[in-house]
């Protein structure tokens, strides 16, 4: 029996592991809460952790296998109601609700031009929706949030002096608070080539390809059995100087927000539960995950508003050619619909609401209230 396995021999409901490194594998065979206090569990042969029991919570633990194999399973979840909190894993988690990840441990940037900014890309296969936590100074990554699937991660390294080394890591953290660490390593050198990437392709090329189907505005549809939706505003063309900003209202039983934090926008890019958040890519996109939302949130209204730098009254949706909304799930494009010709500055693109315990999705028909301020008042927000 390994040293760490002995912690579990007593069958206690609360198990605290002293900080340190422990060789597994570890099998959790009874319902309990395990607090690793920052300990590391590792094994030569994966998986390092097997959760056979149900109703288990694991927190503050780092789990990895030292195998050189690819796509290995670090944690095997066989029970139900197994939750993680602040767990860092290297490898996959096998079990219901967990997807397959193929991510590099280290992104080697190699040598790049000194005194210039440089751009790089890396392909990731992300198993579940997650957000990126990056604090590497001078490293900018184009996306903050990801749906599951294949992605090209685009990175920009700010200008660095000759000989300077960049070595740090960022985390991909799922909503279950399971994180995966990716290291980035490179060196600036005078005379090395300047690295640049071609322009970003459109969102539809990046998302998983699937069948498309259309919907009419106003149509009410039951929400499919999908975990997450991506709501994307698209247009054939948008004039220069005009931006389209997403605003998402999370409404309670009285059809009003509970607090200002129930409005998700560029000032508050994610709901505290991560049930709604903005995707930071150029194509204007919002991610909605209804199961993450608190039970007293009854509706989610997704809007897109014209943000006009010059504040000209004639800059409205009529200047945007062929505006439309696409709704994507993990299985691909779920619905798409045009917004018709509009002359306002605000378009309600979608609302998801709960009725008798079930979520429904509605594509609104030409509802374009005068302005964002009025809509905020309608939904109970204080405006200046």
């Amino acid at each position: 029996m390994s040293a760490i396995q002995k912690y579990f021999a007593s069958g206690a409901r609360q198990i605290d592991i002293k900080p340190g490194e422990y060789e597994g594998p570890l099998t959790i065979g009874h319902s309990c809460t395990v607090d690793g206090h920052g300990a590391t569990l590792w094994s030569k042969v994966p998986p390092a952790l097997v959760v056979k029991a149900s109703n288990v919570k694991i927190k503050n633990l780092r789990v990895e296998s030292t195998t050189q194999a690819r796509n290995f399973v670090a944690i095997d979840v066989l029970g139900k109601n197994v939750f993680f909190e602040d767990v860092e894993v290297y490898g996959n988690i096998r079990g219901q609700g967990f997807g397959s990840w193929t991510i590099p441990r280290v992104i080697e940037l190699g040598e790049f031009a000194a005194n210039e900014y440089n751009e790089f890309s890396a392909r990731l296969e992300v198993g579940e929706s997650c957000r990126l936590i990056n604090s590497v100074h001078g490293l900018k990554i184009d996306a903050q949030n990801f749906l599951s699937g294949d992605f090209e991660l685009r990175m920009r390294v700010d200008s660095m002096k000759d000989g300077a080394i960049l070595y740090g890591s960022f985390l991909l953290e799922t909503f279950d608070k399971v994180s995966r660490r990716i290291y980035v390593s490179g060196r600036a050198r005078q005379g090395a080539p300047i690295r640049r990437l071609p322009p970003v392709p459109s969102t539809v090329d990046l998302l998983p390809q699937a069948k498309k189907s259309s919907a009419c505005c106003g149509q009410r549809l039951p929400v499919p059995n999908a975990d997450t939706f991506l709501v994307v505003f698209k247009a054939k063309s948008i004039p220069l100087g005009v931006n389209v900003d997403p605003y998402v209202f999370c409404l309670g039983v009285d059809n009003k927000v509970r607090s200002n934090t129930d409005l998700v926008s560029f000032e508050n890019f994610a709901h505290e539960t991560f049930g709604v958040y903005l995707d930071a890519r150029k194509d204007y996109a919002v991610v909605v995950c209804p199961r993450k939302l608190p039970s007293d949130i009854q509706a989610v209204v997704v809007c897109f508003a014209i943000c006009d730098v010059a504040n000209r009254s004639d800059n409205n949706f009529s200047k945007v050619t062929a505006p439309r909304v696409e709704v994507w799930t993990d299985d691909g494009l779920y619905r798409e619909y045009g917004l018709g010709s509009a002359s306002g500055k605000l378009a309600v693109a979608l609302d998801i609401h709960k009725s008798k315990g079930r979520w429904y999705l509605r594509a609104p028909v030409g509802e374009l209230p005068g302005d964002l301020g009025k809509l905020c008042e309608l939904y109970g927000l204080e405006t200046m």
Binding site: T40, H137, I165, G168
Partner: protein, 497 residues
């Protein structure tokens, strides 16, 4: 022939306790005191030759302070020096022979620990062909740094690594004194005993410590170690403002001389240049106003014609400090490197040591800073490029995560031990570090280099994987990796020859 007699006697200490000692007819004596041992030979009782020194109230007051308030070998909580913890007190206990008590009766005296046995020659210390019995003699550094060295057996002489270790300990001991505002005032080969076998030293004659501006010095120093400005102003009256007395800056001159002697086996100022046909005057000028470093790059008039070895052999850290001490600071005391600077440079140089593969090399080690020239300066042996590797260390740049600044470089050799300070930033192998356990070591197998984890938690490989204890990391040329997942972990860059 009269038989030497001895009898046991007792002294009464100021704390009221009694201590037995063995009174002999002809006790050992220094310039100011004569010495008796306790029966177990663990302590010595010293009485003043000049009774005026014994009755001087000022002297007693100074010694009481040395015993307690200035004493770094006693924790501050127990009445010792400010800032002394139990741990650091224990560490410095071995670096000094610090007085432990004052004698009240029959006359004023001092009780000190006896010199630890490693600082006295044992059996067979001299060469078999030389009929000298060194047993029991103190290991003053002149035995190892002057022509007397030829009398010693090879096992006594130590090697470069041990002498660097001695230098580190000495600079640390002096640094601690200076940090408390004290000056030794008589640092010399007589007052620092060294043991090249263990690489340790002990500072003695602590009772002549000076508190500048409070308790002035009573001795001017020992010839060869007295700072030039003190010699220059020796003719002036004691209270003349132009008179330069021993102080921290003069300690720094003596420290630099001692370190130079330990590493180069010669005095830094004794060269062929003659300043006066009168011997005493020449001596006065050569060590005073006209003192000139024998390796002065700008003035070679005092350079011996056959100069074996030079400060360049010790790498840039030490070369820079020797020039600072003996060129910039020779006649400009404030420019001299501090004891702390010496300590840090010596530690960095220690990390660049390379064992010489020549079993007959007189020094056994050399400083390998330039990987393109892996040549032992003591025997001329050249290493193959494949035998040479360095780890360049970098520490995190504050406020800019992912960016790094240089933190040193270490030379690798087979079985080289690595410690916490090689993995974690802002840790230094001084008296304060608690964790002195070996964390990892370097292993060279079949021409390849490996870093083997002995006891380091969170060690990472270049691929970011955990390296558990007992496992190793293959060190490939130019690979870059964070040594550990602990905060403030150093970044390591592998450089192969």
């Amino acid at each position: 022939m009269k038989r030497l007699s001895s009898e046991k006697k007792k002294v009464v200490l100021f704390d009221g306790s009694e201590l037995e000692y063995v009174k002999v007819d002809n006790p050992p004596r220094g310039s100011k005191k004569y010495v008796y041992f306790t029966p177990d030979k663990k302590k010595v009782v010293q009485f003043y030759i000049n009774k005026e020194d014994a009755v001087s109230a000022r002297n007693r007051e100074r010694l009481e302070k040395i015993l307690k308030a200035y004493n770094p070998t006693i924790a501050e909580t127990e009445g010792g020096a400010r800032g002394a913890s139990k741990q650091t007190a224990e560490y410095f206990h071995d670096l000094y022979c610090w007085p432990v008590a004052l004698v009240k009766k029959p006359e004023f005296g001092i009780v000190c620990p006896a010199y630890p046995p490693q600082f006295l020659f044992g059996e067979n210390a001299s060469k078999k062909s030389i009929n000298i019995n060194l047993k029991g003699l103190e290991k003053k550094s002149t035995w190892f740094t002057s022509s007397s060295r030829r009398f010693l057996s090879d096992t006594e002489k130590g090697d470069l690594r041990r002498m660097l270790s001695v230098s580190i300990e000495l600079s640390r001991a002096v640094r601690r004194l200076h940090a408390a505002g004290l000056a030794h005032s008589d640092l010399s080969c007589n007052n620092v005993l060294i043991d090249p076998i263990s690489g340790t030293c002990v500072v003695i004659d602590i009772d002549s410590l000076v508190v500048p501006a409070l308790y002035p010095p009573e001795v001017m120093g020992t010839r060869g170690y007295i700072a030039p400005e003190v010699i220059e102003s020796m003719a002036l009256k004691f209270d003349d403002p132009a008179r330069k007395l021993p102080c921290i800056n003069t300690d720094l001159f003596a420290l630099a001389v001692l370190i130079y002697e330990y590493l180069l086996k010669r005095h830094p100022l004794r060269g062929p240049k003659i300043h006066s046909p009168v011997v005493e005057e020449d001596d006065f000028l050569s060590n005073g106003a006209k003192a000139l470093f024998i390796e002065n790059p700008h003035d070679t008039s005092n350079r011996p014609s056959e100069l074996k070895g030079s400060i360049r052999e010790f790498g840039t850290f030490l070369e820079k400090l020797f020039l600072k001490a003996f060129v910039d600071g020779l006649h400009n005391p404030p420019a001299r490197p501090s004891a702390s600077e010496w300590e840090r440079a010596l530690v960095k140089t220690y990390d660049l040591l390379q064992p010489c593969p020549n079993a007959n090399c007189p020094e056994g080690w050399f400083v390998l800073q330039d990987m393109n020239r892996p040549i032992c300066p003591y025997c001329g042996r050249t290493l193959r490029r494949s035998e040479v590797a360095h780890l360049r260390l970098k520490q995190p740049l504050a406020g800019r995560y992912g960016h790094w600044q240089p933190a040193g470089e270490i030379n690798l050799y087979d079985k080289m031990p690595l410690f916490k300070w090689h993995f974690i930033a802002n840790t230094f192998p001084d008296e304060k570090i608690r964790d002195r356990e070996m964390k990892a070591y370097i292993s060279r197998q079949n021409g390849e280099w490996y870093l083997v984890n002995q006891n380091m938690e969170g060690m990472l490989s270049p691929k970011g994987n955990l390296v558990p204890k007992g496992s190793g990391v293959h060190l490939k040329d130019k690979s870059l990796f964070v040594s550990s997942n602990q905060p403030d972990a150093l970044l390591m860059e592998v450089l192969k020859g």
